[in-house]
């Protein structure tokens, strides 16, 4: 459930009517989550609430977007909501994995919150295993999109204008029966579930994903966030857009501590 930071008084900070909800799927390489970190850090978004749930593994730490001594002592938990009213953007960041058997309850809670807070649409940033691509997918761009029928009606041919590639469906029974096609997003976590649930509930949702593998996923995060920027225009896109995104301070030491001098 959504719990606002500021209790009582104006609920202005938790009025998301007409906003776009941007959120990550906990997926291969954590690319969606890294991309969201870039968005929150670059746009200097304000934390407006927590998503209190029993579906995610608990974790706490000090402010991951700290820029100075003063703002480094605010506690952050595993699921928080940030907003930027000037761009009608609300962002949910998820920082830990799902607890076993909790995928479906989380999707249900999330989608009912989307409906009750009257968000206009949801954009899910995700990723999928690069090794599962077929021959055709190995060529060209590794970025894909998916949109629910309700969003298709709203944004029309925008995806064609942007020259984006839709996520291909795969055969349900490869080798045996190639005519029946289904959506398959290996390594995408809750992506497929959220997408199919949104389709059936009439929610306007778009999924933006990148094919990638586990490793140093920072370049993948930049690629995904630039892809998102082509549509939402969150920051001015110039020739070298990767330098426009601000890396948060919590990305330090992603690959471990310093080495012991005695090693050498």
């Amino acid at each position: 459930m959504f719990v606002p930071c500021e209790r009582g008084g104006g609920s202005a900070s938790s009025d998301f009517k007409g906003f776009t909800l941007l959120m990550p799927a906990v997926s291969v390489g954590n690319v969606g989550q890294l991309a969201i970190d870039l968005v929150i850090s670059t746009l200097d978004m304000t934390k407006v609430g927590y998503f209190y749930t029993d579906c995610l593994v608990p974790m706490v730490g000090n402010n991951p977007y700290a820029t100075a001594e003063e703002n480094s002592v605010e506690l952050s938990i595993n699921a928080e909501v940030y907003s930027l009213p000037s761009k009608k953007l609300v962002v949910l960041q998820i920082r830990s994995p799902f607890i076993k058997n909790k995928y479906r309850p989380f999707c249900q809670t999330l989608l009912s919150w989307v409906k009750s807070s009257k968000c206009a649409r949801v954009i899910l940033l995700s990723s999928s295993h690069a090794y599962q691509r077929d021959d055709e997918q190995l060529l060209g761009t590794p970025l894909r999109y998916l949109i629910t029928p309700d969003l298709e009606k709203a944004v029309g041919g925008l995806m064609q204008e942007l020259n984006w590639k839709e996520m291909e469906k795969v055969a349900a029974y490869p080798g045996i029966n190639d005519t029946e096609k289904v959506l398959h997003i290996p390594g995408g976590g809750i992506t497929k579930l959220l997408f199919t649930e949104s389709c059936s509930k009439g929610i306007q949702m778009a999924v933006l994903l990148k094919f990638c593998s586990e490793g140093d996923n920072i370049p993948d995060a930049f690629a995904l966030v630039n892809y998102l920027n082509e549509w939402l225009q969150l920051i001015k896109s110039e020739v070298n857009t990767s330098s426009q995104w601000k890396i948060p301070s919590s990305w330090r030491l992603l690959f471990g501590n310093g080495l012991p001098p005695a090693l050498f």
Partner: protein
């Protein structure tokens, strides 16, 4: 995997957590892990000033809690004590591992029984120093050392430096602190980074700066008592370790 919290708040009668009215609690001190538990046993708890008021029954792949209240320091248990002279002071010794699918239940069943107005929470726990992320190597760090994390509402002094980014805290200590942050309860977590996994006096004594904190100052026992208990604690645990002697 259900966990059960059994309270014996009214003398004699044992009641299920759901049946009772929420009780008033001003201070809730939670020790998670063997060393934190041993610290409270040596420096705060005794059988004269404190009484057992609750027990948690759970099991998972790592442990099963014992049924008795007369526990050894190396057992797995989760007990609640109340200060007889001030029944709003509650203390929890949790030396069993609470699995990730049980942590939320623990929170709801324990905090569900208390009134949150005027509540202040203190959490003590330990963690391997190898998990500590820093620019230098952890080999050269003088461990054990204490780091703290506090919720927005906690306005008092902390007894040690705050935990720097990008370090995080997990498991039950994180669950309790998250709960307090979301529901605006002043709370502080003192995490001791140590390189010893078992019960160890050096790790236990690393918590000593907390004895001068506002929350624990009034609850500290006689120092000579503490050293006696510490010695006893370690001899009971060592008898299990002399297999090669």
């Amino acid at each position: 995997r259900e966990i059960d919290v059994l309270w014996t708040l009214k003398s004699g009668a044992s009641t299920e957590s759901s049946a009772d009215e929420p009780f008033v609690c001003s201070k809730f001190i939670v020790a998670i892990g063997h060393n934190a538990v041993a610290f409270l046993s040596s420096f705060i708890l005794d059988s004269v000033c404190w009484e057992v008021v609750g027990v948690v029954k759970l099991w998972n792949e790592w442990c099963r809690t014992s049924n008795t209240t007369n526990v050894l320091p190396t057992d797995s248990f989760c007990l609640f004590y109340r200060l007889i002279s001030d029944p709003t002071v509650l203390l929890c010794q949790c030396s069993c591992y609470v699995a990730e699918d049980q942590q939320f239940q623990w929170l709801e069943k324990v905090f569900g029984c208390m009134r949150k107005e005027g509540l202040q929470v203190t959490i003590l726990s330990t963690c391997p120093v190898a998990d500590y992320k820093t620019q230098e190597s952890t080999l050269t760090l003088p461990s054990p050392f204490l780091k703290a994390l506090k919720t927005k509402e906690f306005k008092e002094q902390v007894c040690c430096p705050l935990l720097e980014q990008p370090n995080i805290v997990r498991d039950l200590p994180a669950a309790v602190l998250s709960y307090c942050q979301v529901w605006q309860i002043p709370a502080v977590l003192y995490q001791c980074y140590t390189d010893v996994i078992k019960l160890d006096t050096v790790t236990i004594e690393a918590f000593k700066p907390l004895l001068s904190s506002k929350i624990l100052k009034s609850l500290v026992k006689d120092v000579s008592e503490s050293t006696k208990i510490l010695k006893k604690l370690l001899t009971t645990s060592e008898t299990h370790n002399n297999i090669y002697i």
